[in-house]
């Protein structure tokens, strides 16, 4: 709670109960004491945040200004922005940026589209019990750890010849498909995996929003002979709009930072076909042991995520006014 507001309220309460005997000076010190107490109470969490969040973050940004490679300890030195200059001319970096953009946009669009379709299709026609069951079922992918999701897809579903998907494809006469070994198909696969895991989130948010739409709106539209498409376009979408925006914001932020499922399904491969920026940063720092350059890539990802969410939040508040 805002300490200033508390100070005002408490001041009012005391003056009414004790009367006007209390001097303004004493009231002020009481307020001050409360403020101090307030700070005291939040100090542990502030210190905790500083230690586990702010300090590593500053260390990361600082490290990005160093030449720091475990393989060449003698060459460690402050090099300013040289890592960033190098990054801008690194084809592998631009490749990872391109993949990050493709991955983020396609997973978010798919989640919103499929989530909305499912919510609209199921919200009207479901009895209460079935709906509750459905909610539990759709929660399952979300509560599974992404690294497990990646492994399950890699082994059970996408293994060639023996996986479930190939089983179906071979039965249908399409033959085995290189789900994770063809560069383009591998990218499609990791996009599908992410969409599969997180569409339920969009679905649940939309389902909740739809529940708040008054039935009368649709009845009135039906009396005016609005088609189903028109009802969707002019009633459902405007009502869902705030929910759509918030889903997009949250999902974009998560997709930009995606890691575990791709890491366990393809390891960023084949070659670098699914190596989004986050994986590239990890590989650079922890496989190639180039800590300085890895920190540079990590900082860049941080900037991209921060700027993107900032822009989205600005758009949202502009939208609300």
């Amino acid at each position: 709670m805002n300490p200033k507001r508390r100070q005002k309220n408490d001041g009012g309460a005391s003056s009414s109960s004790i009367g006007n005997e209390e001097s303004p000076k004493r009231r002020l010190s009481l307020a001050k004491g409360q403020q101090r107490f307030g700070f005291l109470m939040v100090t542990p969490s502030l210190v905790f945040l500083l230690v586990v969040f702010t300090f590593p973050l500053l260390a990361l940004i600082g490290m990005s200004g160093f030449q720091m490679q475990l393989a060449r300890p003698d060459a460690d030195s402050w090099i300013g922005l040289a890592n960033y200059v190098r990054m801008l001319s690194d084809a592998r970096f631009w490749h990872s940026i391109r993949l990050t953009v493709i991955y983020t946009i396609s997973t978010v669009v798919l989640q919103v589209a499929i989530g909305m379709l499912l919510a609209v299709a199921l919200s009207a026609n479901l009895a209460g019990k079935l709906r509750n069951l459905l909610r539990i079922v759709v929660l399952l992918p979300m509560i599974t750890a992404p690294v497990v999701v990646g492994l399950v897809w890699r082994t059970l579903l996408l293994t060639q010849r023996y996986g479930l998907l190939d089983f179906v494809f071979i039965r249908l006469g399409f033959g085995t498909q290189p789900w994770l070994s063809d560069p383009s198909l591998a990218l499609v696969s990791v996009i599908v995996i992410h969409t599969w895991q997180w569409t339920p989130f969009a679905f649940l948010v939309f389902l909740a929003s739809l529940a708040s739409v008054p039935e009368e709106l649709y009845e009135a539209a039906m009396i005016d002979r609005a088609s189903a498409l028109q009802r969707f376009r002019y009633i459902t979408v405007p009502i869902l709009r705030p929910a759509i925006v918030i889903v997009i914001i949250i999902r974009v932020m998560v997709a930009l930072r995606a890691f575990a499922a791709i890491f366990s399904a393809t390891g960023g491969g084949p070659g670098t076909a699914t190596e989004i920026l986050n994986l590239f940063a990890y590989r650079t720092a922890f496989t190639a042991f180039n800590l300085g350059y890895g920190a540079t890539l990590g900082t860049t990802l941080l900037v991209i995520t921060t700027v993107t969410s900032f822009v989205f939040f600005r758009l949202r508040s502009a939208d609300q006014q």
Partner: protein, 466 residues
């Protein structure tokens, strides 16, 4: 004033305690000599095994049946020396990250770990680990005659040696060999391939033989320890050299292109679909399940594929050394688990760790851990570090593999490679990763020459800059 009785009690207590401690220290005797009855094989070593009684060391190991055996026999070491040994068992990648975290911060939490030789130059460049020669040469700590370091497979020691100093003690290892279905070879009248070209022909014949059967599998997954565990052998067998006379990286040479084209050709033509994501476990499983007719990988896979409980092809398997490449060489991979000594330890901890390394790498312990069986379904270790054990009929009988297996493995680790199979430079993890990407990119369709050139350019520009 009252007599401060509590204070007096405390002071008296402290006095008594310190007297007790001093007295106890004075009483400490020379350690008992090791009883030959109790420790046959170790008592004959002229080493004061109990010199560091009471020390304790902590070791990082990966989960693997051979290290399970090593851990299982270690209580014997504690009884022999009075040194406590605790293990943290962590999968390879996490283990490496933890070891590097410990080494780089100088905390000295882990006295040693089951290390990958390809990281030793990196550790040495940072002065994180101790040269082992000083302990090997110290008569107080080592009985050179009993330990007989020359018996430890020379190529493994060579690969773990940097600037003339041994940095990692080989405790377990392997060679890559050709493992093939003898029954199918006989049915089709195929000869064991002497050259890579013949290997290709055999793969083609086997691949055509049955629709469900693949002709050949090699590691396709990318990584300095995955596809770059196999491709370097091809590269060298084609006559490639890592560096030219001027010391410049030379993998983008005609030999390099030819080696990569060969690798891509045999895998895209004769390997199972999806091999691009396969590491050794997938290949071994497929061979054990009878869907792959031959593969080149570690000899240690024999423990599984010769075990009827785990393999459908047990008893139908033949072994051969790597076929010769156009460069006129057979080249096997070098691999051993190399245990270093953490430089951040105290002197007595280092000595205790050395005693452990000496013990675990000794012929006596290697034999014991190799033949230690947890239960009936357990398998023997095939990665012993000593030539004399490999040649020992007792060990050969215990393993029960076909006779040729031992000639093949011994021939491979004696003759078929050199210590610079992979360059021993600190930049290798980075460099190997870059080449691993190129090799995998070529496997999924990029032109081999282009992929290799691109990787080599990036390595020269970003990794090997001076």
């Amino acid at each position: 004033m009252r007599f401060p009785i509590r204070l007096a009690v405390v002071v008296l207590g402290i006095l008594l305690l310190s007297v007790g401690v001093v007295w106890a220290r004075g009483e400490q005797e020379e350690p008992d000599p090791v009883d030959p009855e109790e420790f046959p094989g170790y008592a004959e070593a002229d080493v004061n095994w109990r010199a560091l009684e009471g020390e304790s060391i902590n070791i990082l190991v990966t989960p693997a049946h051979y290290f399970d055996k090593m851990r299982a026999v270690t209580p014997e070491f504690t009884r022999l020396t009075g040194i406590e040994v605790t293990f943290d068992v962590v999968p390879p990648r996490e283990m490496r990250e933890r070891a590097i975290l410990d080494l780089s911060t100088g905390r000295g939490e882990y006295a040693s770990h089951t290390g990958d030789p390809m990281f030793l130059p990196l550790f040495v460049a940072n002065n994180w680990i101790e040269p082992l020669d000083q302990y090997l040469d110290d008569p107080e700590l080592t009985d050179a005659g009993w330990f007989n370091v020359d018996d430890i497979i020379p190529l493994w020691r060579g690969h773990n040696t940097i600037d003339g100093q041994l940095y990692g003690m080989p405790v377990e290892g392997e060679a890559t060999i050709l493992i093939y279905r003898k029954d199918l070879y006989d049915e089709l009248g195929l000869e064991v391939p002497e050259t890579l070209e013949q290997l290709r022909e055999n793969a083609e014949a086997l691949h055509r033989y049955e629709p469900e059967l693949s002709g050949l599998a090699l590691r396709g997954f990318r990584g300095a320890g995955q596809n770059m565990y196999i491709w370097p052998s091809l590269f060298l067998a084609f006559g490639g050299e890592w560096f030219d006379d001027a010391g410049e990286l030379a993998v983008d040479s005609p030999e390099g292109f030819a080696a990569l084209e060969y690798y891509v050709d045999v895998l895209t033509s004769f390997a199972p679909e999806g091999v691009v994501n396969w590491n050794w476990p997938e290949i071994m499983e497929a061979f054990a399940g009878g869907t792959v007719a031959q593969f080149i990988d570690a000899n240690s896979t024999a423990s599984t594929i010769e075990n009827p409980a785990m393999s459908e092809v047990a008893g139908k398997v033949g072994y051969a050394r790597w076929p010769e490449g156009p460069g006129g060489r057979r080249v096997t991979s070098i691999w051993n688990w190399a245990m270093p000594i953490n430089a951040a330890l105290s002197e007595s901890e280092k000595h205790a760790t050395w005693l452990y390394l000496q013990w675990v790498a000794s012929r006596e312990t290697q034999m014991r851990s190799a033949t230690y069986l947890e239960d009936e379904g357990d398998i023997y270790r095939t990665g012993v570090n000593r030539l004399s054990i490999w040649e020992d009929p007792e060990y050969q009988d215990a393993l029960g593999f076909p006779d040729e297996y031992f000639d093949v493995v011994l021939g491979s680790i004696r003759e078929d490679t050199d210590a610079d199979w992979r360059p021993r430079i600190p930049e290798w993890p980075d460099l190997g990763e870059e080449l691993a990407i190129a090799v995998q990119n070529a496997l999924v369709g990029e032109d081999a020459e282009r992929a290799l050139r691109r990787a080599a350019d990036r390595i020269r520009a970003e990794i090997l800059v001076d």
